[in-house]
């Protein structure tokens, strides 16, 4: 069922003032992508349900085409990356496909390893890890889990090149939804003020150093061309720059409807629709309803896309909608070619 036309309100599809479509950044050649993939650590952030995992995997594909060895990292309890590869990711990096590895940070295992590393006595270290106090601290101490997760990323960055099996050129972190991701990345600043001395404080300083190193670390924002995700993206963009000192390197707008119809087409479609108005059983009626529905949603998308372009100042990439509910790896591979596409074809986002 297509929701039918409603009276009483101006319909943007009828207005001749339909604004020009915004196309992806035409000016940027491939420099932004090379620049992005030359880093060591990329945080992929955005609201729940906008396709962070899809973009993370697509970026990994793009990097592996540049002969880079990539580690896809899942933070937190969800295992979205693993579910695409039919694998359960664990702390030890596992090979997912050519040049792409995956791992899930287990904060508790990290903390145990941390205790072992800092407590000389094996006996006491073991006793701590098994004690209820440990469970308690793990749940209650603000940010302890998060610090451990960040510490893991830092160590991968440090050790990476030296591990025979896992010399990762690039880590792509599929971050938790915005709120949690923000508190995660703000944590080092916050805790350094609170803790000041001791091994955790030292660890935090190292992590902070890595996060704020713009040559090594980048934030990538993912959004849909809808109201809430766009607002959140604009906010996140400002916070990344001002509060986190981790400026966004690129914004990916997911599921953008391809430009099927120009303005002349739209006019003709509307007049056709009128002529089939009284024939609801005709297949043409269904086709036209469908087409008009798409054009409407495209107009709405363009409005939100314009807002992103107006309020941010980094590379904005439009990812085409594939008209599928669940992206498979094959489709993500195709999607990842769209990331490259702007390199060879700067005119952008057309299918």
């Amino acid at each position: 069922m297509i929701v039918e036309d409603r009276g009483g309100r101006e319909d943007p599809i009828n207005s001749a003032e339909q604004e020009e479509d915004v196309s992806a950044d035409a000016a940027s050649s491939g420099a932004w992508l090379e620049d992005l993939l030359a880093r060591r650590l990329i945080f992929v952030m955005g609201k729940g349900g906008v396709g962070k995992t899809t973009i993370s995997i697509a970026l990994a594909n793009a990097a592996s085409r540049l002969k880079k060895k990539v580690l896809l990292v899942e933070l937190g309890d969800a295992d979205s990356v693993g579910s695409f590869y039919d694998q359960t990711l664990a702390e030890t990096p596992a090979r997912l496909s050519h040049g792409i590895w995956g791992a899930r940070v287990d904060a508790r295992a990290e903390l145990e390893a941390y205790v072992r590393a800092h407590i000389p006595s094996k006996f006491i270290a073991g006793k701590i890890s098994r004690s209820r106090l440990f469970d308690y601290l793990f749940e209650a101490a603000p940010g302890l889990k998060e610090v451990m997760s960040l510490g893991r990323l830092w160590r991968w960055e440090q050790e990476g090149p030296r591990l025979p099996n896992a010399s990762f050129d690039l880590m792509i972190v599929d971050a938790p939804a915005t709120g949690h991701a923000l508190s995660l990345l703000r944590l080092p600043d916050l805790l350094i003020k609170m803790i000041r001395v001791g091994p955790v404080a030292n660890q935090l300083r190292a992590v902070q150093h890595l996060l704020k190193n713009h040559q090594k670390t980048a934030v990538v924002l993912v959004t849909l061309a809808e109201e809430l995700p766009v607002n959140e993206t604009v906010e996140l963009y400002q916070m990344a720059e001002e509060t986190l000192d981790m400026p966004a390197a690129a914004i990916f707008i997911n599921c953008v409807y391809p430009d099927f119809f120009n303005r002349q087409d739209t006019r003709q479609i509307l007049s056709l629709k009128t002529s089939f108005q009284n024939r609801p059983a005709a297949p043409e009626h269904r086709i036209l309803a469908c087409v008009v529905n798409l054009i409407r949603r495209q107009i709405s998308q363009q409005k939100h896309i314009r807002k992103i372009h107006a309020k941010t100042n980094c590379h904005v990439h439009h990812m085409p909608y594939f008209f599928t509910n669940d992206m498979t790896l094959k489709e993500i591979e195709k999607l990842s070619l769209e990331i490259d596409r702007s390199v060879s074809n700067p005119s952008g986002n057309q299918l």
Binding site: S83, I128, G198, A201, N231, F260, L272, L288, T324, N325
Partner: protein, 385 residues
Amino acid sequence: MTAISDAIRDPAGPEIIICCGSGGVGKTTISAAIGLHAAMAGKKTIVLTIDPARRLADALGLKPFATRIQRVPLENLNIAKNWVKPPGELSAMMLDPKSTFDQLVARYASPEFQKNIFKNRYYQHLSGNMAGSHEYMAMEKLYEIFNQGRYDLIVLDTPPSRRALDFLEAPQKMLNILGHNFFMKMFKPYLKAGKWGFRFLNIFASPVLKAVSKVVGKQALEDFSGFMQLWDDVMFEGFSRRAASVKALLAGNKTLFLAVATPQRLPLNEAVFLSEKLMANDMPFGGFIVNRVHFLNSEPDRLTIDPDRVFKETPVDPALKKKMITVYRNMRKLAQSDARSIDQLIEKIGSNIDIDVVQVPLSDREIVSLDDLYRLARLLEQKGA
């Protein structure tokens, strides 16, 4: 009529409806529609929501950033022209975890305690940022409003999270921290009372404690224990009593859980997982609302078209016709995929007739007015269009 719609409208139906689901499925909008649906059936209803879209807030007539209860002007509806007075009443409230937490402390604690705890850095972290605090505070507010007894129905829109289940588990985690006096039992021998909070005096008396302080830092441990001491003495009683009541309320027959999802694999799986978890814990689960369905309820055969036979009598530019057919086929593909997902969902539910599945079609327009929301609310009555 659907069982979900009946439950929403029934004067003897649930007094609390909790909408769960993973992020980005339209939970807030559905919650608002449920609230409106109940109000139109004559109930006094309130919707508790976290962060509505600007447009939805506008549609409801809510002022931004206000955390008080606001009345939704039902008289602005088009159909209100025929009313003498509105059938029911709809209010909405935007939840702010930090201020709810502060209010809660204010309820149980002396002014002096409040002053100190609000300054404590651990408290600030706990009330503002900590995973689980949003979920816990949503439950608190729900309980408070329920006990005031001013509404026939409270609709709770759960906080956005990646996993739908977080909402159920987070409060328990939070309580393990706040309601547990374990920490004090463990530490009391080593503490000495300071002016506000405690100082570790005999920290080196316990090798375990010494080791822990070596890892997290002595100062951090002291700040933390200061917070726990304040908390333990003043708040412990109030908190754990409330927690038990909230839990009982949620598991009782006054509550109904609904899972909101879209036809995609991940949100649907989350919703199914949630329903299983709820039922395994004897929580009242009412059904699924599948949002944003393409071509709701169309017969797949009816959707097939023959390109050679359409637009025969109407002259259309062949290139345009081709593009239109491409779009149509793409949409049909989505419709078929949606239908498959929903069939699988229905199959999974099997013979459990108490579980309803309501489908809401994907609209091509955003909800920008109360009338739009009313139209959506009416769709809850239909299994499919």
